[in-house]
């Protein structure tokens, strides 16, 4: 994804009033959207509306209420598929979130196809959700687990990446955007290398891309794409895995139980068609409907505007933060990052910084960001991270910067 360096971008969205939690807390500066986003009123209304007008077990009833529930659930799938550029909406499987999506691919495709001696490639910037399942799968199958190293500024080292690929490579997993650094990975280039050198499947962790810029699965070229609703204005506990139809059809089911079966005999079971084959048990229809309302809301803003708003905030934040002595920013240049900035400060531990900022009403994250392998490579135990979304504006950056200055004062920063 090419991002313009246009400094004329302005953070022009003014939507804070749509978010009840932010309205209830006018002095709150929420800068942890990469962990989870706040929810607009329309999403909470959609949830409530489902429960008050359409609540029934989808797929199972022959009465109108259940028909309505089934329809709401189906339309939510179609709507979200459209948002993510999936023409064949049956290829969007609802999951609890990104973590479950990756586990599904590892537990189904991986279990069925990875053999001793095969190789699985991940990157050193991947979130534990797209790292540990592959590590465990590799250990279980006797496959080789290979980690692609990063450039000093936190990008995938494509040279190293290319060198890791060979005809035993079965799975290549990578995030679209790093939650810890904000790095936006060059998916087209990655896919090209993978296709050129392997028959591997590609698994893209889209937890940090789906919320922040236009994504079209059909043109992305990856075989699987996982995302989390709660990071894109939707409710908790809902997300999705998108897969290519031919893959999903040949894969064995993941969880089994009601709804995903066709016939259950004493000695064997046959499976339902997509997407049901991968959705065992009563679906979380209400939250799917809530997520559909979220993407509707994002589409109304326009994902291009979401992107430009965040880029404008990011470039402003970058300038202000870089000017603070003793503050070190990780990852590629701001113009090549998503709305995430990860940093450390001389003499102030990230945790202490977060606590002091909290006292100022500024919510940032401090820790390993579920990316311990990356932290080890950066040689820091933790970083502080601020992340932006549609409801943020310049006042959040002001509060962040003045909180940092205050922390520096408390901890008595002495220029070296």
């Amino acid at each position: 994804m090419k991002l313009r360096r246009d400094s004329a971008f302005r953070p022009d969205l003014r939507v804070r009033a749509d978010f009840p939690l932010l309205v209830n807390n006018p002095d709150l500066h929420y800068l942890d959207s990469a962990a989870t986003s706040q929810k607009p009123k329309v999403v909470l209304d959609a949830l409530r509306d489902f429960y008050e007008t359409a609540n029934a077990n989808p797929h199972r009833g022959a009465y109108s209420l259940s028909v309505r529930a089934t329809e709401y659930y189906h339309l939510a799938r179609v709507r979200i598929a459209q948002f993510l550029g999936v023409r064949d909406s049956d290829c969007l499987i609802f999951t609890r979130g990104t973590t479950e999506g990756v586990n599904l691919v590892a537990g189904s495709w991986g279990e069925a196809n990875v053999l001793r001696g095969d190789e699985i490639v991940v990157t050193a910037m991947d979130h534990h959700a797209n790292f540990v399942p592959w590590q465990i799968l590799a250990m279980k199958k006797g496959a080789k687990f290979r980690i692609c190293e990063l450039t000093p500024d936190g990008r995938i080292d494509l040279g190293h990446f290319s060198g890791l690929l060979n005809d035993r490579t079965k799975i290549v997993a990578f995030n679209h955007v790093s939650n810890a650094l904000g790095t936006i990975n060059p998916i087209a280039e990655i896919i090209r290398l993978v296709r050129e050198k392997t028959d591997a499947i590609t698994v893209c962790d889209g937890a940090q891309s789906a919320p922040h810029f236009p994504v079209s699965f059909d043109s992305l070229g990856v075989d699987f794409y996982a995302f989390s609703g709660h990071k894109m204005l939707g409710p908790m506990g809902i997300g999705g895995l998108i897969g290519k139809r031919e893959m999903l059809e040949e894969m064995p089911p993941y969880q089994t139980g009601g709804d995903m079966i066709e016939f259950v005999y004493d000695d064997r079971t046959t499976w339902n068609v997509l997407p049901h084959k991968f959705e065992a048990g009563t679906p979380n229809a209400a939250n799917a409907v809530g997520l559909a309302a979220a993407v509707e809301y994002l589409d109304r803003i326009g994902m291009d505007r979401v992107l430009s708003h965040e880029r404008a905030l990011m470039s402003a934040a970058q300038k202000r933060l870089a000017a603070i002595e003793g503050l070190r920013i990780y990852g590629p240049p701001a113009s090549e990052r998503s709305g995430v900035v990860s940093f450390t400060m001389t003499d102030v531990h990230p945790h202490d910084l977060a606590t002091i900022l909290d006292g100022e009403g500024v919510c940032i994250r401090a820790g390993h960001h579920c990316a311990q392998p990356l932290m080890r490579r950066l040689d820091v135990p933790a970083t502080a991270r601020a992340s932006f979304y549609v409801y943020n504006d310049e006042s959040d950056i002001d509060a962040l910067v003045s909180g940092i200055m205050k922390a520096r004062e408390i901890f008595g920063y002495v220029p070296a």
Binding site: H59, R60, G61, A62, S64, V67, T70, E71, F263, N272
Partner: protein, 134 residues
Amino acid sequence: MILDHYRRPRNKGILDKADASVEMKNPLCGDEITLQVSFEGDSVCDLRFSGRGCSISQASASMMTQLVKGKSTEEIGAIRKQFRELMLGNTAAVDDAHLGSLRAFSGVARFPARVKCALLAWSALESALAERTS
């Protein structure tokens, strides 16, 4: 109309000599149908169904057998397509005279769970036609 066909199904039974025979089941409700078809050239010359199920699936099978007898595979394909449209809620299809008595099913479209019942016999016929060409 549906009830009439349910109570007095037409073409229910078995053929002495069938060119194709297909058994089909709706996993959702357990409706079953066995369809036997004999051909003459490109046309369906005779057909019979047996099985058990709800009024929708049985009446749909009964009406289908009446409607397709003597028709060419192409004609049948067109009707099947229209009927499917009707079941998917495409109201324009209601006005298609080719559907004949099948138009009585238009109310079923409201119930996705029942749509499968209405389409069961048609799925079986599709398989039978495919069996023949292959």
